[in-house]
């Protein structure tokens, strides 16, 4: 949560010009970076943002599941979005964070390169994702929004993380 509150100040400055518009329809997002691309999750889906902590690897799972962490006594899985989107690997650094999301009844962590800021986006600012993106990945994208000079990729938490049974899905061929 620290990360959010720390960044809270900044968006105010950024979104000041838009503050005049009716706030009713705007949705708040938390932006984060992944391989120099800006992504965002809807803020109400985020439970908290935590520092990276030791992750226990788990077998029999798709590679994009990094493993399990201990979140105050709960054992929650952590997903590597880099691997999920087949982006090149990169060592974790001080900026690396785990965004803890509520997905249905589950609590799931997502490793990102860094959390940027909270932003307000109006639904009409969001455009459908470009068709050139791989169909499977596109399903997880809610759309693309322009924020000043940058394009923000907005992710659909449910489509991204709510597969019914991860252990059964995407298992490498040698599972038999």
């Amino acid at each position: 949560m620290d990360a959010i509150s720390a960044n809270d100040a900044r968006p105010d400055g950024h979104s000041a010009p838009k503050a005049g518009k009716p706030a009713v329809s705007t949705i708040q997002f938390v932006g984060f970076r992944l391989a120099d691309v800006d992504y965002a999750f809807e803020i109400r889906r985020i439970q908290e943002i935590i520092l990276l902590r030791p992750i226990t690897r788990v077998p029999q799972l798709p590679e994009w599941i990094e493993g399990l962490i201990n979140l105050r006594g709960s054992v929650i899985p952590v997903v590597s979005l880099r691997r999920r989107f087949a982006l090149p690997e990169r060592p974790n650094d001080d900026e690396t964070r785990i965004i803890v999301l509520n997905v249905g009844t589950r609590t799931v962590g997502v490793v990102v390169d860094g959390v940027s800021r909270v932003m307000k986006i109006q639904p009409d600012q969001i455009q459908p994702p470009p068709v050139t993106i791989d169909a499977i990945e596109r399903a997880a994208l809610q759309g693309v929004a322009r924020m000043e000079d940058r394009l923000i990729v907005i992710l659909d938490v449910d489509k991204l993380l709510n597969s019914e049974n991860w252990a059964a899905v995407d298992l490498p061929s040698s599972s038999s």
């Binding site: 690897r57 029999q60 798709p62 399990l68 899985p77 991860w166 252990a167 599972s175």
Partner: protein
């Protein structure tokens, strides 16, 4: 069931029945709305049946009788032979009310003499009427019912009034106390107070003698001080008995009087009613010895203590002592006793201070009094789960404390640094003298030496302050000892708490076993066979969740035994066995596991028959089948393909299959074995952990991760060198005491996201290493597999966390746990791992053969 278990099981019975009565009420209300509500009827039937069963088990004949007839009634209604009418419904409600008050009374007093005889007659009559479809006789039946119940409730309220009578004499709010202190306090009790002469030798002996003589005349309800505690009473001056007796005052006084008795006071009940106020106010004028107030104050304190221990301080307590304290403090204690034995006050008064231990005796004596049923609270299992989780957390933080304090100690513990500084100081001092020597040499050197001296001086000061710092560190180390002690204490409390929380989840398996009487009865009807059900170990306690989960598998196993295991009566006679087949259910503790067996004395499992079946059902080809051992064949009864095919009768076919039975038990971290002998019988042995929440485990490290293996699945741990590993058909085996055990590594069994672990071929290099490997030999049923690990980390009780909640089931893992350092470790599912190990080899073998 024997009387032995009666008291023990009563609270459970009462709780269960209360719940059932509430549910029955709901069902009846539903029926009232819609009299053809079939599900509600079924529920009502089931409830009545359950109450019937449990009441029979505990010997409540009246309840049993009533519910038996109600059950028949509901059964007929259920079968649609006749319809429920208002009259019957009213009667049901009446029965319900009677059942409720019966159990209420039972809970309060521990016994009840309510007779359902007439009510039962009514139910029977009504049943007849409904059967005949007429309503004329019902009219009279209904009025009968009215009379009857009113008479029952009259006698009921009579007893209630009786009970209420006593408290009302004193104070309404005192009721709870009075009851809990002495239930057997009847108004007919006679008070016999004997005061001993001063310095009489062996007063306790005399007291016992009096008790013996009095007990010949009646029943001693209680005594002050209690007879058991006589030895603890420092100076016995008075003893008072409360007697239930018909003997006259003369007889009593004759019996109690003996040498050494100063006065004897026999009090009839009437006196007691009038006594309290006056006696409390009446001071004992004599004996105002100087040390008395102190004594009394202490006594009064003690009394307060006692009162607080009893449910609630009450009106009489709060007021009368006040009246007493005004003129005489001694009465504080004395009046406190009025609630128990009012009339004893006066007699005790002269000896009040010395008598005080008696005040302490009271609750103890009361605790022993018969009747009061141990109170229980029903708690949602979820809350207990939550508590369990919190306790788990606490245990974790505790182990972190332990680690931190160990680390602190290690870091603070450096006595050498102290030496170092003192050495420094010495050297500085030496330098100083040397420089001083130089200073006396030349003039130029003098200035230089002075500067140096200053330098050295400030250095020494610094070092001195360092020494002081070290002194503080040393003191810190002493506090560290305290911390260690506190942590130790915390550990103790934690462990106790954990155990306590676990204990709250434990329930006896008895009620579950009792259900099988019904199962057996049904089975007997359906098959025409005769059965005897033997139950043992019903007081064995298990985690509630385990008991709940166990119900279905057990039902299936029992049905199976009755349906397939046992022969028909004729066949049994021909075989020289008793006509009735025996099915036994037993439970017993063994270490931290519970063993439950289901056995029958039937025909046993014939391996040859299974051999035919497995071939018929295409599970195995004929040649392979021929080579299977008996043990391997029998293991096929767990196979889904076999069990469902063979067991399509209407009895055991409709429940769960044997394969489900096994997977259910395994999901409880349990195992199930079969022992069978053709013609003699079959025994299923289920071994279960006491609780699901905590798993004693061995922690092992493989690569960078720590895994937990349930200790129950570990046979032994061996170290083998590479040259002792043999290769048999590409599977590696070792020999342990002439038994060949395959060994596997987790790398062989697990598939890691993206390929091998760490994708670096680390596993391979480990293989090349010729030195000793640690192999944990796992066992499940009769199979053994060795698992290679990199390091043994030690034994630990781990708190099981399900992966299902946030992740989902993972093949080969039964959960996760959080280690002392806060990291997550994975708990290996040994049964599954062994299957995986077998599966892994199977295709290879197929290629090779």
């Amino acid at each position: 069931m024997s009387d032995m278990n009666f008291r023990h099981l009563l609270p459970f019975y009462l709780d269960e029945t209360d719940e059932q009565v509430i549910a029955l009420n709901d069902a009846l209300l539903k029926l009232e709305e819609d009299q053809s509500d079939a599900p509600a009827l079924a529920v009502a039937f089931r409830i009545v049946h359950t109450i019937k069963g449990s009441s029979a088990a505990l010997g409540f004949v009246q309840v049993n009788l009533l519910t038996h007839h109600l059950e028949s009634f509901f059964d007929i209604l259920r079968s649609g032979q006749c319809t429920l009418d208002r009259e019957s419904l009213n009667l049901f409600f009446r029965c319900l009310d009677e059942l409720r008050s019966y159990h209420q009374q039972l809970r309060e007093t521990g016994e009840t003499e309510v007779d359902f005889g007439e009510l039962v007659g009514l139910v029977q009559k009504n049943l007849e009427r409904v059967r005949n479809g007429g309503s004329s006789s019902g009219e009279s039946g209904d009025t009968d019912a009215g009379n009857d119940t009113s008479s029952v409730s009259k006698s009921e309220s009579g007893t209630k009034a009786n009970r209420a009578e006593k408290p009302s004499k004193a104070d309404e709010s005192a009721r709870v106390d009075v009851r809990s202190i002495s239930i057997d306090d009847t108004d007919s009790a006679v008070e016999v107070v004997a005061r001993f002469e001063d310095d009489v030798p062996l007063p306790d002996m005399k007291a016992r003698l009096i008790a013996k003589r009095l007990s010949a005349l009646g029943e001693i309800l209680s005594s002050v001080p209690s007879l058991e505690k006589l030895d603890d009473v420092a100076e016995l001056t008075t003893i008072s008995f409360r007697l239930a007796t018909d003997a006259s005052t003369e007889e009593l006084s004759k019996a109690a009087n003996m040498s050494g008795i100063a006065s004897l006071d026999i009090r009839r009940p009437k006196a007691s009613a009038a006594a309290p106020a006056s006696s409390a106010a009446k001071p004992a004028p004599a004996a105002k010895s100087p040390e008395r107030p102190k004594e009394e104050k202490r006594a009064a304190d003690r009394t307060t203590e006692m009162v607080e221990a009893v449910v609630e301080p009450n009106g009489i307590e709060a007021e009368t002592p006040k009246a007493g304290t005004e003129d005489k403090p001694a009465n504080v204690a004395a009046t406190a006793e009025t609630q128990v034995s009012i009339s004893s006050d006066q007699a005790e008064k002269p000896a009040a201070p010395k008598e005080k231990p008696a005040a302490k005796e009271k609750p103890a004596a009361a605790g022993k009094s018969v009747g009061k049923v141990g109170e229980t609270v029903r708690v949602e299992l979820e809350r207990l789960d939550h508590l369990m989780n919190l306790t788990g957390e606490l245990v974790l933080s505790k182990s972190r404390f332990v680690q931190v304090s160990a680390a602190l100690r290690e870091n603070l513990d450096s006595p050498s640094r102290r030496l170092q500084t003192s050495d420094c100081l010495d050297r500085l001092a030496a330098m100083r003298t040397a420089i001083e020597a130089i200073a006396h040499g030349g003039t130029d050197a003098e200035g230089m030496a002075h500067r140096l001296l200053e330098e050295v001086g400030s250095l020494s000061e610094e070092v001195e302050s360092m020494t002081r710092e070290l002194g503080r560190a040393r003191r810190a180390r002493a506090s560290l000892e305290d911390l260690g002690e506190a942590v130790h204490q915390l550990t103790r409390v934690c462990d106790g708490l954990q155990k306590g929380v676990l204990d709250t989840r434990m329930i006896p398996i008895g009620p579950l076993f009792e259900r099988f009487r019904r199962v057996i009865r049904d089975l007997s009807h359906a098959t025409g066979k005769e059965f005897v059900l033997k139950i043992s170990g019903e007081s064995t306690e298990l985690d509630k969740r385990v008991v709940d989960e166990l119900a279905d598998p057990l039902v299936h196993m029992v049905r199976n035994a009755g349906d397939h295991g046992l022969e028909s009566p004729e066949e049994r006679e021909r075989l020289g066995k008793p006509r009735a087949g025996t099915i036994s259910l037993s439970a017993a503790h063994s270490g931290d596991r519970v063993t439950i067996t289901v056995s029958d004395d039937g025909r046993g499992i014939d391996p040859e028959r299974i051999r035919r079946k497995v071939v018929e059902n295409g599970l195995v080809d004929a040649t392979t089948a021929d080579r299977l051992s008996d043990r391997e064949l029998i293991a096929y009864i767990w196979h889904a393909g076999l069990s469902t095919a063979e067991r399509l009768t209407d009895i055991s076919g409709r429940g769960v299959g044997m394969d489900i039975v096994r997977s259910r038990i395994e999901s409880l971290n349990g195992t199930v074995d079969i022992r069978t002998q053709v013609g003699v019988g079959t025994t299923f042995i289920i071994r279960l952990p006491l609780t699901l929440a905590i798993l004693p485990s061995l922690l092992v490290r493989v690569h960078d991760e720590v895994y937990a293996i349930a200790v129950d699945h570990i046979r032994e741990i061996v170290e083998v060198t590479e040259d002792r590993v043999h290769h048999v058909h590409r599977s590696r085996v070792i020999e342990i005491r002439d038994r060949i055990v395959p060994i596997v590594s987790l790398d062989d069994l697990f598939v890691w996201g993206g390929g091998a672990y760490g994708a670096s071929g680390e596993g391979e290099s480990r293989d090349e290493n010729g030195h000793a490997r640690r192999v944990v030999v796992l066992h499940s049923a009769d199979e053994m597999v060795g698992l290679e690990v990199d390091q043994l980390m030690g034994l630990q009780e781990v708190v099981l966390k399900s992966l299902d909640k946030n992740l989902g089931p993972v093949d080969g893992l039964s959960g996760a746990s959080i280690l002392g350092d806060g990291r997550v470790s994975l708990i290996l599912d040994v049964d599954r791992l062994m299957e995986m190990a077998a599966d892994r080899n199977r295709p290879k073998r197929a290629v090779a053969v």
